[in-house]
């Protein structure tokens, strides 16, 4: 039984792994070159970064049920830590990313303390406050003098290049792809095993009933703070990678709009689901392409002025997809799987009854 369940999954994972490893070369392959362009490698790099960032938010909001509208602020903190380390102290990129993740995680853990007393819309506004005030703090002379945040001008990093030892094998774009995709795979695996561990189950029980969780002996305060900490760790790593691939960082690089978009994306992909987060990252990366494709297939779009109202189309698509897939893309997979299991079970039951010689009704 266990074997039949697991084998297809392992094959699927292996195929995915091979695809991810070879992706930056695919645009050169004979058939793939028809629909893949080199730009997609850059997009895939973005996908990896969004995956890490969205995974953090989904761990917090999807699994532990704590709504956060300030995720972009944590991404920004991670980006600033990494940028300052790389620029002022010449830290190598992997060390900078790691330190940025840990520092942001620690900050997030502390942000968890005021969040302990708040819930629902009150928590939402309190977290939204983070991203509202962050630009002012980054621009403040104290931060500029002591932490080299660069004020209004922000920080300009050198364009990232592939290290000279790999220069003959990789282009810059391919190097960036692997720099981001490897952490993304590692952190997705981490998130996957976390949600299936004791901590993950504690998160879920927090979401479903805080008082219930408390009565089961779960340290609610500690786990809530842990949820914020883990969420911020992911945000920090994501922010650091983002700024490595896109070497300009200003006080409003990450804004309220991004914060809200991130929340929208995890709901579209599917809350409390790893597959859902992967879908969310794909939608996040391709959101402009998707809107353009749909704009192109709308009949008489030119007359309606689709060109000038992309935003309206995006909003409309968003509302429609929430109405028709209330549990996100992953919710559909879940539904299909349940239907599959139900069908298999009824078939088994029927076979069982036939064996026992009972009349089959359906």
């Amino acid at each position: 039984m266990v074997k039949t369940l697991y084998r297809p999954r392992i094959i699927l994972l292996a195929i995915m792994f091979v695809l991810l490893v070879t992706f930056p070369w695919m645009y050169k392959w004979p058939i793939f070159s028809h629909f893949l362009i080199e730009f997609r490698t850059f997009q895939a790099t973005r996908f990896a970064i969004w995956l890490i960032i969205l995974m953090g938010l989904n761990l917090l909001t999807g699994y532990s049920g704590q709504i956060s509208l300030g995720h972009a602020a944590l991404v920004a903190i991670g980006a600033y830590v990494a940028a300052i380390l790389m620029k002022e102290y010449n830290t190598p990129v992997f060390a900078a990313v790691l330190v940025a993740g840990l520092v942001t995680g620690a900050i997030g853990f502390l942000i968890g303390i005021p969040a302990l007393r708040l819930s629902g819309p009150y928590l939402a506004i309190a977290t939204l406050a983070l991203i509202i005030v962050l630009p002012q703090i980054l621009k403040h002379p104290f931060m500029v003098d002591n932490f080299h945040t660069g004020g209004v001008n922000g920080i300009l990093l050198p364009t990232p290049h592939v290290p000279s030892s790999l220069k003959n094998n990789l282009t810059d774009d391919q190097w960036l792809y692997y720099t981001c995709m490897i952490p993304a795979i590692i952190m997705t695996t981490m998130a996957w095993s976390l949600t299936r561990s004791r901590i993950g189950r504690a998160f879920i029980s927090l979401r479903d009933s805080e008082i219930g969780a408390q009565q089961m002996g779960i340290n609610v305060s500690l786990y809530k703070m842990t949820a914020f900490g883990v969420c911020s760790l992911f945000a920090g790593v994501g922010g650091a990678l983002y700024i490595y691939t896109q070497p300009y960082l200003g006080p409003s690089t990450f804004d309220i709009l991004l914060s809200l978009t991130l929340l929208v994306m995890i709901v579209l992909g599917g809350l409390a689901s790893i597959v859902g987060t992967i879908c969310a990252a794909i939608i996040m990366t391709m959101r402009i392409d998707i809107t353009n494709w749909i704009a192109a297939i709308i009949p008489a779009g030119d007359k309606l002025g689709i060109e000038q109202s992309r935003g309206a189309l995006f909003g409309l698509l968003l509302i429609l997809s929430i109405i028709f897939t209330p549990r996100g893309v992953a919710g559909n997979f879940e539904k299909m799987r349940e239907a599959n299991i139900a069908r298999r079970r009824s078939r088994q039951e029927r076979q069982g009854r036939e064996k026992e010689g009972e009349p089959v009704q359906d």
């Binding site: 009150y122 008082i211 935003g311 909003g315 209330p326």
Partner: protein
């Protein structure tokens, strides 16, 4: 001292702008328990409708024709939004209505930009607000700001009376608290939700028309105000109209004072820090009540 009083007065008039939009947020939260991110954009859209009615017509009574026509249009608009966009997601996961309001935000904003273009337009303020600035002691306040302040108080009073003294208001409060139980005692839950959206769109329209003379009418005019209105509503406790006024004025005054005495590069930070501190002491805002939970 004179500067202090003047800054205080300026803070109050900024605060009353926040308060009046916060009132419409409180109204919708109280009747549907949804935090509506599209509130500011809906208010902006209905103000543009008023502008279209006014456009090309002069005369003292035309303002009021446009005003009341807009209130009716806003009610229909709000009810339609609830029926079309919100009704299908109400029974789903809790986050979904919020995501739908974010979608509405983009949709309405982009539509307004498409129809009326981006450049700011002048919007007349009602004739009764005209006149020389008001002097209270040494402080000077402009007439329109006094008007906004008085309107905010009036709306607060109306909302209070509506929720606490009328049967429909009671039914709406019941709907927000427990839908199934309300349905069981014979409340038309669907109608109450649509009415909640209609009324809050109406208050939003009033807010929009009062803010437009000061902020100038443009598709982006509400975005800055909305965040502070949210902060104000949360500070006062999302359930309480009195809280919205107190919250709005507090945020306005604190922001102004911090800007004057601590530094204009840190005013927003100080205002939000205060809100967080208040929330830590009172997690449901200044006037909000704690809801008991059962397992």
């Amino acid at each position: 001292m004179q500067q202090f009083i003047q800054q205080f007065a300026t803070g109050l008039s900024t605060g009353s702008l926040y308060a009046i939009l916060a009132l419409s947020l409180v109204l919708i939260y109280r009747s549907t328990s949804i935090v509506n991110f599209a509130q500011g954009e809906m208010a902006m859209f209905t103000t543009f409708l008023a502008w279209s009615v006014l456009n090309g017509h002069a005369g003292p009574y035309w303002f009021w024709v446009a005003f009341f026509a807009t209130l009716v249009m806003a009610m229909i608009f709000g009810a339609l939004v609830e029926l079309i966009a919100l009704r299908p997601v109400e029974s789903g996961p809790v986050l979904n209505p919020i995501i739908v309001t974010l979608g509405l935000f983009t949709l309405v904003n982009s539509l307004a930009l498409r129809i009326w273009q981006g450049e700011p337009k002048a919007f007349p303020s009602p004739a009764i607000f005209d006149g020389a600035p008001l002097k209270i002691g040494t402080a000077v306040i402009s007439r329109p700001n006094v008007g906004v302040f008085c309107m905010a108080l009036l709306i607060m009073g109306l909302i209070y009376v509506f929720f606490n003294r009328t049967k429909v208001g009671l039914a709406m409060r019941a709907t927000a608290q427990n839908r199934v139980a309300s349905q069981l005692v014979g409340i038309r839950v669907g109608r109450m939700l649509a009415l909640g959206w209609a009324l809050s769109a109406m208050v939003g329209a009033v807010a929009g028309m009062l803010l437009a003379p000061t902020l100038f009418l443009s598709p982006g005019m509400m975005q800055g105000v909305l965040l502070f209105a949210f902060a104000a509503a949360v500070l006062g406790g999302l359930e309480s109209p009195v809280g919205a006024i107190v919250g709005g004025l507090t945020v306005g005054v604190v922001q102004n004072m911090a800007g004057t005495y601590i530094g204009s590069n840190i005013d927003i930070t100080v205002a939000f820090l205060l809100i967080i501190v208040v929330l830590l002491v009172r997690p449901h805002g200044l006037f909000g009540r704690r809801v008991m939970q059962r397992v």
